[in-house]
Symmetry: C2
Subunit: 349 residues, 2 copies
């Protein structure tokens, strides 16, 4: 009875008819009900309920030019993308915050370099209100694409391409890698450690170079041989540790660029019969639960609120979106945000 033709979804029109009001009034009620008298609101609400009315998204988008969807762009540089627990947490934060903003998450998986054309077309097609992108490489086309198609975009991780701080700047959210690194090193210093080594992450990722910079900020005249190169993998951490031990056997502390490398370093340290933290104190970065808490001894490390960063990316984007929305405001670029880190003391240092 409430639904005359079972196949067809009820429209605004149907609700209006049932409630005995105009389409406009129903629309107002559905969108918050501001400026509609109480009894009418009630009546419309009831009609919506009875008919099981659900607004047609496409129709709404057609006129409002908003589609309540945000693209999350994943450029796959290597094998692990998803499997990165880091990424999972970030996406979770994004998903949650998006839900809170009544928006959907559209996943755009870039399938290699040739695929950017497709991405550009999609982004340019106005299918999404904005986009979120991750730690793009320095030569990535993404920044120029989003600029060209004018899609508000927030990046995860500080971009490192030349000019990223100037005219090619993009809004981003990143942890305070440099500050966190400084804190870690200062902590080691405070523990009385004198020869603090660093295992650095890949040179083309700002998260790695920023941490290295933080290390140098504190240890202004650090012995260059106390810095070894890794690539954020466990394996590379082990290799770097071995190298370090060979070059500077007397080192008494290691600040690793991330937990994975710290874990590799720890393995080598124990193999060589060095006690942690007695002989060598060890600090990681990330506070990746599956690693930092699982090692023996558990890792003292620098925590960053990854899920929070995801949420923040969305919030930044939403702010930019609501600020103007319409075209003609080419530079409503949301500002970037650096989120604080926190030293988590466990047993390794």
């Amino acid at each position: 009875m409430p639904d005359p033709s079972p196949g067809a979804r009820p429209t605004l029109e149907a609700v209006a008819a049932r409630a005995g009001v105009s389409r406009a009034t129903v629309s107002r009620v559905v969108n918050g009900g501001a400026g509609v008298r109480r009894p009418l609101v009630e009546r419309v609400r009831r009609a919506v309920e009875e008919l099981g009315y659900i607004p047609n998204h496409a129709a709404r988008t057609l006129v409002t030019r908003r589609n309540g969807a945000v693209a999350v762009i994943i450029a796959e540089p290597e094998f692990r993308v998803f499997s990165d627990p880091f990424f999972e947490q970030q996406v979770r934060g994004i998903s949650r915050e998006l839900t809170a903003h009544d928006s959907q998450l559209v996943l755009l998986w870039v399938e290699g370099a040739g695929d950017y054309e497709r991405i550009a077309r999609y982004l340019g097609g106005g299918h999404v209100d904005g986009a979120l992108a991750f730690s793009v490489h320095d030569d990535d086309e993404l920044p120029s694409i989003v600029r060209r198609v004018q899609v508000p975009t927030v990046f995860g991780g500080r971009p490192g391409w030349p000019g990223a701080t100037g005219e090619l700047a993009v809004p981003y959210v990143d942890a305070d890698n440099r500050g966190g690194a400084r804190e870690a090193v200062r902590y080691l210093l405070a523990q009385g450690r004198g020869r603090i080594a660093h295992i650095a992450g890949p040179r083309d990722q700002t998260s790695a170079t920023d941490r290295l910079a933080g290390y140098r900020d504190v240890l202004l005249d650090a012995d260059p041989d106390l810095v070894a190169q890794g690539d954020f993998t466990e394996e590379s951490g082990a290799r770097a540790m071995a190298e370090l031990l060979e070059r500077r056997p007397g080192l008494d502390a290691v600040f690793a660029g991330n937990d994975l490398m710290a874990s590799g370093a720890l393995r080598v340290l124990r193999e060589r019969g060095l006690r942690v933290p007695e002989d060598v104190a060890l600090v990681g970065f990330d506070d990746m639960a599956s690693v930092a808490e699982a090692t023996d001894p558990p890792l003292t490390t620098v925590r960053q609120d990854i899920e929070g960063m995801g949420r923040l990316m969305v919030r930044l984007l939403m702010r930019a979106l609501h600020q103007d929305g319409g075209p003609g405001a080419p530079d409503a670029a949301p500002g970037s945000v650096i989120t604080p880190t926190e030293l988590v003391r466990r047993a390794s240092a």
Copy 2:
């Protein structure tokens, strides 16, 4: 010059005007150009090019009732969802196939039990053409929801709830777990192994119970003490192996429910001084690269084409979608598909 007002995207109308044809003709060309004379097609194409015309998705959806989007529903039972390499590969397959079908992937992350209401509303709102869901638990609400809101849905993994083979059946894609298990056990048999143990995965996942069933298919009168319970984690594999060794020290082969458990079992085997495969042959399942190739010795295991399964899920869904599309065909449920597995011989057996 081609673009009079820089802010505004060109519409069909604009293209029509520029090409000197009607909107209808432009529409025809944009959608394939069937039934339009050659020269006109060219002219329209050129106009599209010059204006940089991109069809408005919302407008199209409004009339066609198709939105070129498919929801991927992730119900998060435990911590790792994304981080599961299994899942990553599946999503990659889905993403690729969806792209081939010109569709988008909308990620729906279920945030706990109370969140199903939101999911139902979204699915019911006709925002997506169909949905893809994964290895739902037996008491999951998802199947009943998609049934209620009538959204064509394909499941990944054979559902195990009561009635799943009858009136509550849903279309799914799964690997031939049972057949693969049979092959693995037969292989062990052919190697002359007589006391073959099994480390089973969680009882509430059909992938695990199917593998156990396959094991039993071959070893009809298997000693019940040769089966130990695990939960698909490395740790549980180690525990189960220890148990097995205690109960039946004379076992000469182990078929583990997945590679992770096999890896755990391998660890324990070596700790006890047992040689693999000389003393105990070991076979895993999944052929998860990061595990099966990394162990020492590398694992003989049963491979399943995970990415292919993802693609298949999409293909099944698309078939159901194109088959009818409109309402009124309540039971256009696509059939299920079981994909073959393959035994990969490495050094562990």
